[in-house]
Amino acid sequence: MKKTLKIINQLKKKGLIEDYTIGGGIATIFYVEPFLTYDLDIFIIPSKKERRKNLILLSPIFDYLEDQGYFWSGEHIIIEGMPVQFIPADKLEEEAIRKAKEISYEKVKTKVMTPEYLTSILLRAGRKKDMEKIEKLFQQAKVDMKKLKGILRRHGLSDKIKLL
C-alpha cells in the first residue's frame, strides 16, 4: 500500500488533483479491527483546471496513471497491486477531505476521513453494508456525536440520525 499511496501523492504534487483522502472500507479499518474488503476508495478534489460547470475531467489522472503502466480492471485502476477507485467529491465529501486526519503509512504521508465524516457519508448511503461499518465505528472507535450532528445538519442530513 505504501507504493500505491506514493503514486497517489504524485497526482497531488503534479497538480492533477487538489487534494484527496482515503475513505470507505479502508478508512473504516483505520479505526476498527480489520474486515474483508478489496478496494481502496480515494475521494478527490479535482484540480481547478479539470473542473468545468457540471463536468469533472478525470481523464488527465487516468492518462497519467496509464502512462506509468497501471491498468484498468472493471471500475478500478490497479496501482501497485491494489484496485483503486477515484471518487470526485461532492460538497460533503470535499469538507471531509479538507478536515481529514493526516497520518503516516510506513513513512508515507496520507489522509484518512475522520470517524464523524465517515459516519455521515455512510449514513447518507444507508445500505446494509454501510450500516454495518457504522456499527463497528460506534463499537470500536470514538465518534464525536456533537461533531457528527453538526456535519449532518450542515448538509441537510439531520433526519438520518434516526437510523443510528
Binding site: 500505491t4 479499518i29 479505526y31 476498527v32 479491527e33 484496485p83 510506513e106 470500536q140
Partner: protein, 72 residues
C-alpha cells in the same frame, strides 16, 4: 440481567468465567484489535483476502505482501 449470563464456563487452565464475562472479553478483544497500527491491520486484511480467495477459488487478494500469516 439474563439468567443465562451467570452460567459458568470452564476455560483453558480451569479458569471459570460467566457467559457475561465471556462476551465482555470478546468485546475487549475486538476493541484491542481496533487499536493495532494501521500497517498491521492492512497486513491482516491481505491475509483475510487470501483466506477468502482460498474458499472462493478466485484470485482477488492484493499482491502487495508475501509473508503475512504471522499477523492473524
Amino acid at each position: 440481567m439474563n439468567k443465562n449470563d451467570e452460567i459458568k464456563i470452564t476455560m483453558k487452565s480451569n479458569r471459570k468465567i460467566t457467559r457475561k464475562e465471556l462476551f465482555e472479553e470478546k468485546e475487549l478483544f475486538h476493541k484491542q484489535r481496533a487499536k493495532l497500527p494501521f500497517e498491521q491491520k492492512i497486513r491482516m486484511l491481505v491475509r483475510l483476502q487470501e483466506i477468502a480467495d482460498g474458499i472462493k477459488k478466485k484470485r482477488r487478494a492484493w499482491k502487495i505482501f508475501y509473508k503475512t500469516s504471522k499477523e492473524l
